[in-house]
Symmetry: C2
């Protein structure tokens, strides 16, 4: 299998130990003969425009993306990570998602935005907004983009801190890339 | 100005009166000589794969996108909407964002995931995760993608129900397209 440039997207960049987490994930990529492109190297000292341009350039040169879709500040994944997944979906690149959370999106939304009400077979959150019920891990655009790209999604409860890094699911996902 | 096909993305599809909201927004587009492509027409009776394919086809044929980035189930915009913004960003299409919320992302995150702690000049939420402080309405990848595309972002408090539809900011944003 040829060496791949893998864009490592996720809310990992917002962890206190973001650099260590990124270095660890890059080492896992290297152990399998790939190169992990971690956006943190672009972050702290620069302004927002420079970070955007640098992250976009990393995505443009990547062969595929690994997206940490663990819930972040709500039932959904991190906004920046989702943006990047959409961006690479349009480029037709293989998308791989992983998460520290095995519950479906509907279950998570019910937990953070319940109590839910069912009406005419449709589930609503406490604000009266419809909750998608396709038994998927995320909004269907995300789940189905991963599927359509030929990639896959792995969810595993995480025991190691910081749990948001989702180490176990990351390794499972990375290993699976070998077999695709 | 030529007639544009405008993809109308947003959590509007999760409103009880999603169809009415979509029809109203499409009428506003028509009044300015444009065509509003509203993804709801793709939703209810189909399965998730069919909805994904239909929404993607709408984006592929759109000239530009209008994205309702009002906060949805947390401090960030709806996950599906963000995915679509990323997708159309990679296509190099003009992106226009609007929201019913004038507070910055950092202010919203402090509200939903506070109390915050400042350490060495960096702001952390209650889980110890860093809060971006670029005084922007959303994650920098979203804000800067809109800017880089030549589009713009409009935030206005909304008085009409359902507030999530963000009618006022939508009209302001749509009108601004005329002048770009």
């Amino acid at each position: 299998m040829r060496k791949l440039k893998l864009y490592l997207a996720g809310p990992d960049v917002f962890l206190r130990d973001a650099t260590d987490v990124g270095r660890w994930k890059q080492a896992q990529c290297r152990a399998l003969g790939h190169e992990g492109l971690y956006p943190l190297d672009n972050h702290l000292p620069k302004d927002a425009v420079a970070i955007f341009a640098a992250n976009r350039a990393l995505m443009d040169c990547a062969d595929a993306g690994l997206f940490n879709l663990s819930p972040f500040r709500g039932p959904s994944a991190d906004a920046g990570t989702i943006f990047e997944l959409g961006y690479m979906a349009a480029q037709g690149k293989p998308l791989f998602g992983y998460s520290n959370e095995r519950a479906s999106y509907a279950e998570r939304a019910a937990q953070t935005h319940g109590p839910t009400v069912e009406q005419d077979g449709v589930l609503h959150d406490r604000d009266g907004h419809i909750i998608e019920r396709f038994a998927q891990s995320e909004n269907l655009m995300i789940s189905k983009a991963i599927r359509a790209s030929g990639g896959l999604f792995v969810a595993m409860a995480e025991r190691e801190e910081p749990k948001l890094a989702s180490y176990g699911a990351f390794v499972a996902c990375l290993t699976a890339i070998e077999n695709i």
